[in-house]
């Protein structure tokens, strides 16, 4: 304790620096500068393409056009480059890409991180970028040595001339390499020659995420910046009728109170001042038509709709005739609620708006939407808007909003106050803020023929469309939003007579993709109902599925592996029961076996989950394993706890007390097994989520004879009375 540092509020705001010397940290610099300082020095770096920059200091900076939100893209994408670049992995650094066409998603045509597509969509492009750079470095070395290129090779950040054993590091070659012509179509390595891809690589971002230096949007700060909290309507679709800022403005530190489209912003010199100001703010709301909205009434409305025929999403055979021929008919209704993403880092967005430019620091999954929205709101051209993508404290879809809600709001606040300002959402704002996974209601009917053969299957789905009104509205065809029926319309079981239909009511609650999107409900319904049918047919749930999957080798591959590793059919500890589910999503096939017990109070304990995944060619087993664990936890949170409900138009939940998520004491032991595959890589961020709810529900049925048809699982329904 020898240093005394004075931090006066005024000085802090004026300079953003600590007084007392020696402690002026990077935190007061705009992120862009600190990124540069940490990366490569300015001395003529070699930038063979938009994704790679090699400095004279040998550092290799890989510019990543995907957002790192925990899924590991800041490691897996560099691996793709490194495989071909033959660089020294310890010299690899990562930088987030600006918004520019060359960083667009190869399939979506905009800059976006979603759909578990980061590795699959960049599988070719990032490897090619690495290969082209390598060839230019080799050419540069050959020219330096005046030797034939063919006698040179690249290895661990050096080009080596085989004949003379001369070697030059990439850093020594940058100047010359920059003058080389970028080669066209360099052949990529054969998988048998892979040195990096397929290896369990440690995450590049772990050190920073263990010492507090990782920068999230909420951490970015610079001189003169203010903080704002927004009072939003208590009912979706509501508006400000009037407000009285008198008391709010007397809260110490409050600078201004302004009305914006989404509500009233209280702007202050610190979070806490903005918070106190918002508490003191008086707003009269025009609550709008949803003021009587109620979850129970919505269930009844959906139940009515489900009795009527909907838009056809899939049809084969002759369902009605088959049903009349069935020897056994089984009906069931499944329901899941609205869910909030509840990312660990609450939403936030920092905007510095000037007459001729707008700079934004935020953790976003959807840079192009956000940039264009900021341009619209600020009246600038898109090219005058710069987005600095920070690390994301979780995304799960919430930070890829085609409506750019949290960005538009922050730009409006910045416009009103004419100072750099960061809008922070409190946890309550986040839980009550909408853009939920839709509530779904599914009516099922099936017919079993002789010998328990499944001959007829009807699945009627009711729920809001996510894609309507977004850039993906073209994926809504003949009244069917593909994301509402994914995993249901294309479910793999071979049944001769099938009808899947959909009702898409307009409700007014904002909805959005939530990790695994439609699969988050269809897997629960299809995999639980198929289990019901297995029991109705008197068959083992695994064998029953196997019999219907003969032409689906990858489903079977995952299923068989999970069954083998879990010891399916083998005796268990007393009181424990197994349930199984398999589901394909985002190109990957995942099977899970859950081991569960239920006590007399109806409390469910998930002891163990064995998970098998076929995600095509394996890029980083470490990531695959982590993402399966992560998906299982996310799905379990929803299965055991999650529900957003409404009363009098108001969201009834507010924080982690009434919107609980899984905690460590509920964490099952998870084992992950990967099916070897030569197929192109497919998703891992989302596919771990869908199978867990049905696997657990099916285990609960094995344990209690009670079928879980509504999530979250309710203890009262399982209690021994």
């Amino acid at each position: 304790m020898n240093e005394i540092i004075n931090v006066s509020r005024r000085d802090f705001l004026r300079t953003g620096a600590l007084i007392g010397g020696g402690l002026i940290l990077g935190f007061s610099l705009p992120l862009r500068e600190s990124f540069r300082a940490a990366a490569t020095p300015a001395a003529a770096p070699f930038t063979p393409n938009a994704f790679i920059r090699i400095g004279a200091d040998d550092l290799v900076t890989i510019i990543i056009n995907k957002s790192e939100m925990g899924q590991g893209v800041y490691t897996s994408l560099p691996m793709l480059v490194a495989e071909e670049l033959e660089c020294d992995w310890s010299k690899v650094r990562v930088e987030s890409a600006p918004v520019a066409p060359e960083y667009n998603h190869t399939a979506f045509g905009i800059q976006l991180t979603g759909g578990s597509t980061s590795v699959s969509s960049e599988w070719e492009r990032f490897r090619k970028a690495g290969a082209a750079a390598r060839e230019m470095l080799i050419a540069a070395a050959a020219e330096t040595w005046k030797v034939n290129k063919a006698g040179c090779q690249a290895e661990k950040g050096f080009v080596i001339h085989e004949g003379t054993k001369r070697r030059l590091s990439y850093g020594k070659l940058v100047e010359k390499a920059a003058q080389m012509k970028p080669p066209q179509d360099v052949p990529l390595k054969q998988p048998k020659d892979f040195k990096v891809i397929g290896k369990s690589m440690k995450r590049l971002d772990t050190p920073k995420k263990t010492n507090g230096s990782a920068l999230f949007g909420i951490d970015v700060k610079f001189p003169g910046m203010l903080t704002a909290l927004v009072a939003r309507p208590p009912v979706f679709g509501g508006k400000v009728k009037s407000f009285n800022a008198g008391k709010a403005k007397t809260a110490p530190g409050v600078k201004a109170v302004v009305q914006i489209d989404s509500g009233v912003a209280v702007i202050a010199d610190s979070f806490w001042s903005a918070h106190l100001g918002r508490e003191a703010l008086e707003v009269v709301w025009e609550e709008g038509p949803l003021v009587t909205f109620d979850s129970q009434a919505q269930r009844e409305q959906y139940a009515e709709l489900a009795k009527k025929p909907g838009a056809v999403a899939a049809q084969r055979g002759d369902l009605r005739t088959a049903m009349t021929k069935a020897t056994k008919r089984i009906e069931a209704v499944y329901e899941v609620p609205y869910l909030a993403h509840a990312t660990m880092e609450p939403l936030n967005c920092l905007v510095d708006l000037r007459a001729d430019r707008c700079e934004i620091w935020t953790g976003t999954q959807s840079q192009t939407f956000d940039r264009d929205a900021a341009a619209r709101v600020s009246g600038l051209k898109p090219e005058q808007v710069k987005i600095h993508t920070t690390l994301l404290g979780g995304g799960f879809g919430r930070r890829a909003n085609p409506h750019s809600d949290f960005v538009i709001e922050a730009v409006q606040v910045a416009k009103a106050i004419e100072r750099p300002v960061k809008v922070i959402w409190t946890r309550e704002d986040d839980i009550k803020g909408g853009y939920y996974r839709p509530m779904w209601y599914d009516r099922m009917e099936a017919g079993l023929g002789a010998n328990g053969h499944l001959i007829a299957w009807q699945h009627t789905i009711v729920g809001q469309s996510i894609l309507e009104g977004t850039f993906l509205a073209t994926m809504v065809k003949d009244g069917v939003d593909g994301s509402s029926v994914e995993g249901a319309a294309n479910m793999p079981y071979e049944i001769p007579n099938v009808l899947v239909d959909l009702h898409t009511p307009k409700i007014g609650v904002p909805v959005l993709w939530w990790r695994s999107v439609g699969h988050s409900h269809t897997a629960f319904v299809v995999e639980s109902f198929i289990d019901e049918l297995a029991h109705a047919a008197g068959k083992d749930p695994y064998e029953f599925r196997r019999g219907l999957l003969a032409n689906h080798p990858r489903h079977l591959g995952a299923l068989n592996l999970a069954v083998k590793k879990a010891g399916w059919g083998k005796p268990l500890a007393k009181g424990r029961f197994r349930g199984i589910a398999v589901h394909k999503s985002f190109g990957s096939f995942v099977a899970q076996v859950a081991e569960v017990s239920v006590n007399p109070k109806g409390e469910v304990r998930v002891h163990k989950v064995v998970c098998a995944i076929d995600c095509g060619r394996i890029v980083n087993p470490n990531t695959i394993e982590a993402q399966m664990e992560s998906g299982i936890v996310f799905g379990l949170s929803a299965a055991l706890h999650g529900a957003i409900t409404f009363k009098d138009g108001r969201v009834e939940q507010s924080n982690f007390n009434d919107y609980p998520v899984l905690r460590i004491n509920e964490m099952p032991h998870v084992e992950v097994y990967i099916v070897p595959s030569q197929e192109p890589p497919s998703g891992v961020g989302e596919p771990g989520v869908p199978p867990i709810a049905p696997a657990v529900g099916n285990a609960i049925f094995a344990a209690t004879g009670k079928r879980i048809r509504r999530l979250p699982i309710r203890r009262d329904e399982l209690k021994k009375v």
């Binding site: 931090v7 880092e345 992560s630 982690f656």
Partner: protein
């Protein structure tokens, strides 16, 4: 002026004495490793050490923290066994909750050098990881306990 002892340094801070310590650490001291997650003692993202014990900085006013010895994630040495174990097990995903997890784990091991899984669950119960890194957290704590037992730095 409030006087704070954080990570071995003394700070004189001109703030309202009722402001939660969390926000002073983050905004006035610029130590942003300590995170905001709920403000209601529900998530543990904001955990720091106060006089050696894990405490939620969102629940303590800066006035109450005066004169106490405060350590944040930035004050944990790089060679601390918990940090090393976290890196070996590659625990973090998004990373947002991890400062709280690490601070809690370090406090747990001080209290209980050889925790079993039940001890870990009991102590770490309050710290949410939305990314679901719990299994690796358990493994990392066991690893850190082993390191410390072999005479590593506590």
């Amino acid at each position: 002026m409030i006087s704070l002892h954080v990570n071995g340094k003394r700070y004189e801070v001109d703030v309202d004495p009722d402001v939660p310590l969390l926000w002073v650490i983050r905004e006035q001291l610029g130590l942003t490793g300590t995170k905001y997650g709920c403000d209601m003692a529900l998530c543990g993202s904001c955990i720091v050490h106060i006089d050696g014990k894990a405490e939620r900085s969102c629940q303590i006013s800066v006035k109450e923290a005066q004169g106490k010895k405060i350590t944040t994630i930035e004050g944990i040495p790089e060679n601390h066994p918990v940090k090393k174990a976290w890196i070996s097990e590659d625990v973090p995903q998004c990373g947002y909750c991890q400062s709280g997890q690490i601070m809690a784990a370090a406090a747990l091991l001080k209290k209980k050098p050889q925790p079993n899984d039940a001890d870990i669950d009991d102590f770490m119960f309050g710290i949410i990881c939305r990314c679901g890194t719990y299994q690796r957290i358990r493994r990392a704590i066991h690893r850190a306990a082993k390191m410390m037992n072999k005479g590593g730095k506590r």
